[in-house]
């Protein structure tokens, strides 16, 4: 028995079962949640490397699995990451029924989790680029709407993700050249350029972000938000792996500058984009841009020693508020778009011009959506605030321009949420105060909102444990 067998191969096999059962949606969701939670529990107990005795049988869970001469390795210190991946999957599956995410969502979601775990485990780690590409290809199947041609945003996503792969793989080869002859500046420049372009494509950095609003406008917002959570998570892990493994790279001051500049562009583009948006789905995409930008800024704050990344723990801590914020926001969008019978397409029904006074009909969905927006903006008392505060402080200590830019991005999201609020509670002659959400929708939305407040008011309960996941990258967090 080996850890990759449990967290990579077994989910892959369950995917086949779920595909066979996909007509029975509730059963599929139940199996998906149960299986993901079982994997979370096993990861939580952290049995990697332990020996179990079942009568005469001795069972050891080894940390590696050999495939075609290379290894997939999941070590004990990566168990918290596995908890996070499969907990995120279970969380999203929990709302799949209410969000009408489609019969493919659960099997494909589990497949994506399996692939990103494989990307985490594969050695040499550069091969992760291929597994992330596989995850992206699989994700596109759930972006599509049966009966309609594939949307242009998804095609753009496919192109961007596929184009990133050659750059990352070539970077790996160039980096070995840099290690062999560190004085050769030409190879260093080529390696850094190739890596920067590869990651800009992979992490949808401005101007490669355009697929996000295009796709979420027409696809199921809940499904897209799942991909927004899972892929940047593993891609950031992958990027941190580069910094952790190559000493010469992490000590380059240019790396900090590149992270700060790309983060700055993302935060500003996302903030301005959200502030001017009229479509609630596109607003979520711009909110995600701000999240990616903040991640880059968080990692890009230099420590006192060259090559140290002091706020890397904050990135890990921010994953829970981000996941919760995205999930609640997307669920609110789905409830609003499905309840609004006046129009029959997402494109129109999530347009602010069509939603005046909708808060009278869907008070819980609208409240949850506004609170999720505010949380991602970093509003006090909500989940996003405790993880934004150290970033703003760190940025202010380093550069006031960067700190102000980060605040400007959050201000953009704040303006977006205020505009949304004004529309939701606006006058409408025909409407009476009535809650049209179903009970299952109400329960999920209320649980989500309570979660946003609990993490915001009592961050000390869970966020420090998440921040400690930074120990996986021992060289970045000495």
């Amino acid at each position: 028995m080996s850890a990759p067998l449990i967290w990579i191969i077994a989910p892959g096999l369950v995917v086949i079962l779920l595909l066979l059962l996909r007509r029975r949606e509730k059963l599929v969701i139940g199996i998906g949640i149960g299986f993901s939670l079982a994997l979370v529990l096993i990861a939580w107990l952290d049995p990697i490397g332990d020996v179990f005795k079942l009568g005469p049988i001795t069972l050891t869970i080894s940390d590696s699995l050999s495939v075609l001469g290379r290894r997939f390795v999941l070590e004990s210190n990566e168990a918290p990451v596995l908890v996070l991946i499969y907990l995120g999957v279970a969380f999203w599956f929990g709302g799949a029924g209410v969000a009408r995410a489609g019969s493919l969502f659960v099997p494909v979601g589990l497949m994506i989790a399996s692939l990103v775990t494989a990307a985490l485990a594969v050695e040499p780690f550069l091969y992760s680029a291929l597994l992330i590409e596989m995850a992206a290809i699989v994700a596109i199947t759930i972006f599509s709407v049966p009966g309609k041609p594939i949307n242009k945003g998804s095609l753009r996503f496919l192109i961007i993700q596929t184009m990133s792969m050659p750059f990352i793989l070539l970077t790996g080869w160039l980096l070995t050249g840099v290690e062999a002859s560190p004085a050769d500046s030409a190879i260093t420049v080529q390696a850094v350029f190739s890596m920067a372009l590869g990651f800009a494509l992979l992490l949808w950095i401005f101007p490669f972000h355009t697929w996000m609003p295009m796709t979420i406008e027409v696809a199921n917002q809940y499904v897209v938000s799942f991909v927004f959570f899972m892929l940047p998570l593993i891609i950031t892990f992958f990027g941190l792996g580069f910094l952790d493994r190559f000493a010469w790279l992490r000590t380059q001051t240019g790396v900090y500058t590149a992270l700060q500049m790309s983060g700055l562009f993302m935060v500003l583009a996302g903030g301005f984009g959200a502030a001017y948006q009229k479509h609630l789905g596109r607003m979520l995409a711009f909110g995600m841009m701000v999240e990616i930008g903040i991640t880059l800024l968080t990692i890009g704050i230099p420590g006192p020693e060259p090559g140290s990344y002091p706020l890397i723990g904050v990135f890990f801590a921010s994953l829970l508020p981000r996941g919760l914020g995205l999930g609640v926001w997307a669920l609110g969008l789905i409830v609003i778009s499905r309840a609004d019978q006046r129009t029959d397409s997402n494109l129109q029904s999530l347009d602010l011009n069509h939603l005046r006074g909708i808060g009278m009909h869907l008070p819980l969905a609208c409240s949850a959506l506004i609170l999720a927006q505010l949380s991602i903006a970093g509003f006090p008392l909500l989940a996003g605030f405790p993880v934004r505060l150290p970033v703003w402080q760190g940025l202010a200590n380093h550069s006031i321009v960067l700190a102000l830019s980060a605040l400007l991005g959050s201000a953009g999201l704040l303006i977006a949420s205020l505009r949304t609020l004004v529309v939701f509670v606006g006058d409408s002659d025909e409407m009476k105060w009535v809650s049209q959400e179903s009970w299952s929708q109400r329960i999920l939305l209320i649980v989500g909102v309570i979660g946003l407040f609990l993490i915001g008011i009592f961050p000390q309960i869970i966020l420090p444990q998440l921040a400690s996941m930074a120990r996986v990258f021992i060289n970045l967090n000495p």
Binding site: V122, L130, I137, P146, L158, P166
Partner: protein, 217 residues
């Protein structure tokens, strides 16, 4: 097994990938699109055989052919005939229901051809530089790889038809495989690259089927 005969075939392989990549770019026929894709894979196989063991190179050939078959199978399989008029039924039987048409005039084809020639000239002039960047790479390998990457990029830039996008990406990936074969020999990477190639083809087939699916699918 000696690699010498395959080295002799390197120049014909470069010519083959160039012709097929240009053909993919300018053809408006689905039949030729699939045939060019399948033939292109033969050229890729010959070029990667210079650096990889034949068994590994063969897997690239097989994956490429499987991809062409998957796309071809969806293009040429009969579509539901209800609600089709006579003309559509004839098109359906001949496998030409899928539209690859980008323009009715000769100038549309000429424009693509000239753009391909321009990309070709750029690559021919840049290839010696690539041989200085990557040690052990031959000029034929660099040319073959870069021509596919360049013409694949051109394909992506000139069309947003889903099947053309997928074929463009497959072309770029083939070009990358040729160049990457010089710097990396690993069974896992070949396996993963083949998996990505076939997944892209399946995705292309899915794109073609998507408009015909009902919401309960």
């Amino acid at each position: 097994m000696s690699a010498i005969p395959l080295e002799i075939l390197a120049i014909p392989a470069v010519i083959l990938v160039s012709i097929t990549a240009v053909g993919i770019l300018i053809t408006q026929s689905t039949t030729w699109l699939v045939l060019f894709l399948a033939m292109q894979t033969v050229g890729v196989f010959l070029l990667v055989s210079e650096h990889w063991p034949v068994s590994m190179a063969l897997s690239i050939l097989i994956a490429g052919w499987i991809s062409a078959v998957v796309i071809g199978w969806v293009i040429f399989s009969p579509h539901p005939v209800e609600e089709m008029n006579d003309r559509e039924k004839i098109q359906n039987q001949t496998g030409s229901k899928l539209s690859l048409i980008y323009g009715k005039t000769v100038s549309a084809v000429l424009f693509r051809l000239l753009a391909a020639i321009l990309v070709g000239f750029t690559i021919v002039s840049a290839s010696p530089k690539i041989t200085s960047w990557i040690t052990n790479i031959t000029i034929t390998t660099a040319l073959g790889g870069m021509i596919l990457i360049g013409l694949g990029l051109l394909q992506l830039g000139l069309s947003d038809q889903p099947i053309r996008v997928v074929v463009g990406l497959l072309t770029i990936l083939s070009g990358f495989e040729i160049i990457y074969s010089v710097v990396e020999i690993s069974a896992l990477i070949v396996g993963l690259l083949n998996l990505v190639t076939m997944s892209l083809a399946v995705l292309g087939a899915y794109f073609l089927l998507l408009p015909e699916m009902d919401e309960s699918t």
